[in-house]
C-alpha cells in the first residue's frame, strides 16, 4: 500500500449530534467512532490534547490494527463507558450498584468467552498499541486465566514459543522446582 501513515485528506464532516472520528485500519476497514470512545485510546488522546496544537484531523489511520480487532475494541470500550455512566448514576444505591456490577461482569465473561486464543492474543497487541489501560488489564487477566495450571507444552504452543533450553538445562530447572509440575491440568 502506498499510504504514508496518517491520512492527510481532511474530510468535511457534517456535524452530527455526537462528534465522531474516522479510524482506518491497515486492512482497509473504516470505522466512525464516537469521540468519547476514541479518547479511551490514549494514543489518540495524546494527539488531540497536546497543548498548543490544534489537531483537526478527523480521519486517522491505525497502522498496526486490523478491522476485526478494532471492531472488538470499539465494542468493549463503548460498553465500558456505558457501565461507567450507569455506575455513577447508581452511586449511593447499594442494590443498583450491585446490579450494574453484575451486568458488567456478565458482559465481560461473555466477551472473553467468545474469543479464540488467537483472537485474544491479537487483541492484546492491538490494545497495547492503542494504549487502553483498563482493557489491556482485562485481557491480560484473561490470558493468565487461560494458561494457569496448564502444562509447559500448552503454554509454549499458546504463545508460539520455541523451547531454547537443552534437555539437560530443562531437566535441571525441573528438578529445582519439581513441586510446581505436580497436578497440572491435562492438555
Amino acid at each position: 500500500m502506498a499510504d504514508d501513515g496518517v491520512n492527510t485528506k481532511v474530510e468535511a464532516v457534517s456535524k452530527a449530534t455526537t462528534e465522531t472520528i474516522e479510524l482506518r485500519t491497515e486492512d482497509g476497514g473504516v470505522f466512525d467512532v464516537d469521540k468519547p470512545v476514541a479518547m479511551e485510546f490514549l494514543i489518540l488522546k495524546s494527539f488531540y490534547e497536546d497543548e498548543g496544537r490544534v489537531f483537526d484531523k478527523t480521519s486517522i489511520r491505525l497502522p498496526n490494527v486490523k478491522q476485526l480487532e478494532l471492531s472488538k475494541v470499539i465494542e468493549y470500550c463503548t460498553r465500558a463507558l456505558e457501565f461507567g455512566a450507569k455506575s455513577a448514576a447508581a452511586a449511593g444505591d447499594k442494590d443498583a450498584e450491585r446490579m450494574v456490577r453484575q451486568e458488567r461482569e456478565g458482559f465481560e465473561a461473555e466477551f472473553v468467552d467468545e474469543l479464540s486464543n488467537e483472537m485474544l492474543k491479537e487483541l492484546i497487541l492491538a490494545v497495547n498499541f492503542l494504549d487502553i489501560k483498563e482493557m489491556l488489564d482485562f485481557l491480560i487477566r484473561s490470558v493468565a486465566n487461560r494458561i494457569r495450571n496448564r502444562s509447559v507444552a500448552y503454554v509454549r504452543q499458546f504463545f508460539d514459543i520455541e523451547n531454547d533450553f537443552t534437555p539437560q538445562e530443562e531437566d535441571q530447572i525441573h528438578q529445582e522446582n519439581a513441586w510446581a509440575f505436580e497436578g497440572v491440568d491435562a492438555d
Binding site: 447499594k94 450491585r98 492474543k121 492484546i124 497487541l125 497495547n128 489491556l136 488489564d137 491480560i140 487477566r141 490470558v143 493468565a144 494458561i147 494457569r148 495450571n149 496448564r150 502444562s151 509447559v152 503454554v155 509454549r156 504463545f159 508460539d160 514459543i161 520455541e162 523451547n163 531454547d164 533450553f165 530443562e170 530447572i173 525441573h174 522446582n177 513441586w179 510446581a180 509440575f181 497440572v184
Partner: protein, 359 residues
C-alpha cells in the same frame, strides 16, 4: 519462531501476564524458554508480582483435632477457598510465630531456639543462625522469646526477625531490662540491644504485630501502640485513635490494611475499622462501621485476622469468616466439624502469596 522475531508479545506484556499467575504456574513457566526464565527472576518482576499479591489476602490456620495431637495447616483464600497447606519441606516440626509479606518465621518444636524463615509458596527456606552463643541450659533459661516479629521490606527484599523478652537470671525476677535480638538477613547475623523496662512491655499482645513504614508495631493492653524502629533500634509509642478505648466490652485489635496501620474495635453491636492514613502526623480515620447484627451469636468469640480495603477475615473458635465491605456480606469460608483442641483464632495468621526470597 513466528514472523515477529523475538516473540509474539513485548516483554512488558509477558511480565504482566506472568505477574497474574499463581506461584505454582509461575514456577512451571520458568521452563517455557530462556527469556521467560530470565524475566521471572528479574528484580522488577519480583516487585511487580508482590505488589499485585497485596490485593489477595489469605489466612493461615493451624487446625488441631482433639482426637490426635497432630495438627495441620489450612490456607483460606477469598478467591479460591480453602486448601491444605504444608511446611513439610522444612523437614522439622514447627510452629508459625510470625507472618509478613509472604514469608513466615517458624520456630522448631523439638529444638528450642531454632528458627526458620521460609516462603511456603516457593518452598525456599533459611535456617537462621543460633541467636545466642551459649546453648539453652537451666542457668540461662530465658527460654523462647516472648515476642516474635518478622519485618520483610518489599522494596529492598531484605528481612529482619525480632525476638524480644525479659532477661531473667535463674531464680530471680526480671532485672529491669528488656532485650531485643534482631536478625539481619543481609548480614546473616543477630544483633542485640537492650531497653529499660517499661510497663507497657508487660502488656504487649503477642500475635498482633504489624510491619509498616519500616517499623514493627505491637498493641499493648493500654491505649498505646509500641513501635520498634528497625533503622535505629529504638522503641517509641504511638496513640490509638482518640475514640477507641478498652473497657465496657470493647475489644481492640491491631492489623494492617493495604500497607497502613489499622485498628479494629469490636463492641457487642459494631465493628469499627480505623486506618492510619497519615503516618507522620498520626492521623486516624474511621474507614468503616460494620453492624454485627447478623453475626450476633458469634460476637463474643470473633477475632479479626487480616484485612484489605475490600474485605476482612475473622476467626471464631470453629470458623473462618470473611466480610466483604463493598457488598456488606458475611460468608463462612471454613468450619471445623468436630471439636478441635484449640480455638481457630488462637493460631491464625494473615498471609499473602508472594515470591519474596529468603536468601
Amino acid at each position: 519462531m513466528n514472523s515477529r522475531g523475538d516473540g509474539f508479545f513485548p516483554d512488558e506484556v509477558i511480565l504482566q501476564i506472568l505477574a497474574r499467575l499463581p506461584v505454582k504456574s509461575l514456577f512451571m513457566c520458568k521452563t517455557v524458554c530462556k527469556l521467560w526464565y530470565r524475566l521471572s527472576a528479574d528484580k522488577y518482576f519480583v516487585q511487580l508480582y508482590n505488589d499485585l499479591s497485596v490485593k489477595n489476602l489469605m489466612v493461615l490456620v493451624e487446625v488441631s483435632e482433639a482426637s490426635d495431637s497432630k495438627s495441620r495447616l489450612i490456607c483460606v483464600d477469598n478467591l479460591s477457598g480453602v486448601s491444605e497447606f504444608s511446611l513439610d519441606f522444612l523437614k522439622d516440626r514447627v510452629k508459625i510465630r510470625a507472618s509478613c509479606n509472604g514469608l513466615l518465621c517458624c520456630s522448631s518444636i523439638p529444638d528450642k531456639g531454632v528458627y526458620y524463615v521460609c516462603n511456603p509458596m516457593t518452598r525456599e527456606f533459611r535456617l537462621l543462625p543460633r541467636s545466642r552463643e551459649r546453648p539453652v541450659t537451666r542457668f540461662y533459661p530465658d527460654g523462647e522469646a516472648t515476642l516474635v516479629g518478622l519485618a520483610c521490606c518489599s522494596s529492598s527484599q531484605k528481612f529482619n526477625v525480632v525476638l524480644a523478652g525479659y532477661h531473667r537470671s535463674f531464680g530471680h525476677r526480671s532485672d529491669g531490662t528488656f532485650i531485643c535480638l534482631v536478625f539481619d538477613s543481609e548480614l546473616n547475623r543477630w544483633r542485640k540491644f537492650v531497653s529499660f523496662q517499661d510497663d507497657h512491655f508487660t502488656h504487649m499482645k503477642r500475635n498482633q504485630v504489624v510491619f509498616v513504614n519500616g517499623s514493627l508495631h505491637w498493641l499493648t493492653g493500654s491505649s498505646c501502640i509500641l513501635v520498634l524502629d528497625l533503622h535505629y533500634d529504638i522503641w517509641r509509642k504511638m496513640s490509638l485513635p482518640g475514640e477507641v478505648s478498652y473497657g465496657s466490652g470493647n475489644r481492640i485489635y491491631l492489623l494492617e490494611s493495604d500497607g497502613c496501620l489499622s485498628v479494629i474495635q469490636i463492641s457487642d453491636a459494631w465493628l469499627n475499622i480505623w486506618v492510619l492514613k497519615d503516618y507522620e502526623r498520626e492521623e486516624w480515620h474511621l474507614a468503616d462501621r460494620v453492624s454485627l447484627r447478623c453475626v450476633r451469636g458469634l460476637v463474643p468469640g470473633i477475632f479479626p485476622i487480616s484485612q484489605t480495603g475490600e474485605y476482612v477475615f475473622l476467626a471464631t473458635h470453629k470458623q473462618v469468616l470473611v466480610y466483604q465491605r463493598k457488598k456488606r456480606v458475611w460468608k463462612v469460608m471454613y468450619s471445623v466439624n468436630n471439636s478441635s483442641a484449640l480455638p481457630l483464632w488462637f493460631s491464625a495468621h494473615a498471609f499473602r502469596s508472594t515470591i519474596f526470597s529468603c536468601y
